[in-house]
């Protein structure tokens, strides 16, 4: 009989490193995927996933099965991802005060908030367009959608991971899907028949 995640973690706590390997094998792909969709960078996603596993290992002696293992795991991952996204955003915006001033240089260009869909479709394919729509969501909304859609977690678990009430989560998810509906409008308004058989309703 397969051991549960909690049993595996308790074995890790007792000093059984092979149980940690089971957990690594089981959650490496979901974690890397989740983090990749959060930070939109493969190397950063893998670094963060390693950090998540390392933190789980370091915390093994204090582990108490008070919640689902995945809740704990993805809570660590979400916090790391949110910190990374915020740090990266500020790093990109930071302009050194002692940088030489070039009067002839063109002003710093910020990305246009709205791009025409044909520009998007020329530049990137359909999948990339969807990825960008997900990436454009505010971090917490993005995390909620990823946990809901890709990890298929129930509302209670997502609410614990994001540290909010289930009611607040419902509002958060609705706002997120509403933003995606607007962003993906060119694809959403295509006749259903054209995309028949693609994706799956959740």
């Amino acid at each position: 009989m397969a051991r549960t995640d909690v049993e595996l973690m308790l074995d890790v706590k007792a000093g059984d490193d092979s149980s940690f390997d089971f957990l690594l094998q089981k959650y490496r792909s979901p974690l890397v995927n989740f983090l990749h969709r959060m930070v939109r960078d493969t190397a950063t996603a893998e670094d963060l996933a390693q950090e998540v596993f390392l933190r789980v290992y370091r915390a093994r002696k204090q582990y108490t099965p008070s919640a689902k293992f995945t809740t704990w795991l993805f809570r660590i991952a979400t916090n790391l991802a949110l910190n990374s996204v915020r740090d990266n955003r500020y790093a990109k915006l930071a302009v050194p005060l002692d940088a030489p001033v070039d009067e002839d240089a063109a002003p710093m260009e910020l990305p246009a908030p709205v791009m025409r869909i044909d520009e998007h479709m020329i530049e990137r394919d359909r999948t990339e367009f969807i990825r960008r729509a997900i990436a454009s969501l505010p971090e917490k909304q993005r995390a909620a959608v990823l946990l809901h859609k890709y990890e298929e977690m129930d509302y209670g678990e997502i609410a614990k991971i994001l540290d909010c009430s289930e009611s607040a989560l419902k509002s958060l998810l609705f706002r997120a899907y509403e933003s995606l509906r607007v962003q993906l409008a060119p694809l959403v308004t295509q006749p259903v028949e054209q995309r028949a058989g693609e994706g799956r309703p959740s």
Partner: protein, 171 residues
């Protein structure tokens, strides 16, 4: 049900995560509200579009790097493995136990424990000794009171006592 309430439950409804009563309410509203029905259909399509994004796989060396970092973690010595967790609670318990132990140890300044029960004869001798303590500690009495010599039993130390007293009287 109002549009606002129906929309709030829309995602859960599309997921099939509302109970039968909630589901009936949402369906009743959608049947009579074309705008919300249209919104629900678009949300369903959004969910399908999200499903088109393929998953990424961790790189080839991912597991090895995690194992390497785990192996680099400092290992606990045999002593710390014996110390039960949580350590702060154990430390506090140990401190309390040591405090109690030290408090129960006999102190150097504490009075000596009372002597065990003595016999009646020993108590009588002690009483006599204490009764005559003032006399015995008086040096003049000891050196000049001849009758003490009469009470003394003849033994090997008596001549020396007498000789000593004689010397002193000569002074």
């Amino acid at each position: 049900m109002k549009c606002e309430d129906a929309l709030k439950e829309l995602i859960a409804y599309l997921d099939g995560r509302v109970n039968a009563a909630g589901r009936a309410k949402v369906e009743s509203h959608l049947a009579g509200c074309a705008a919300c029905r249209n919104r629900a259909e678009e949300m369903r399509k959004v969910s399908m579009l999200l499903g088109e994004v393929p998953a990424v796989e961790p790189s080839f060396g991912f597991d090895a790097r995690v194992r390497q970092r785990v192996a680099a973690e400092p290992r606990q010595s045999w002593f710390w493995r014996l110390v039960p967790a949580p350590r702060p609670a154990f430390a506090v318990a140990l401190l309390i136990a040591l405090t109690v132990l030290v408090a129960k140890l006999p102190s150097n300044r504490a009075p000596a424990p009372p002597v065990a029960t003595t016999s009646a004869q020993e108590q009588e001798e002690d009483f006599n000794a204490i009764k005559n303590l003032g006399v015995l500690e008086n040096y003049d009495v000891l050196t000049k009171f001849d009758s003490l010599a009469e009470t003394a039993t003849p033994d090997s130390t008596q001549p020396e006592g007498k000789a000593q007293r004689g010397d002193e009287s000569n002074d």
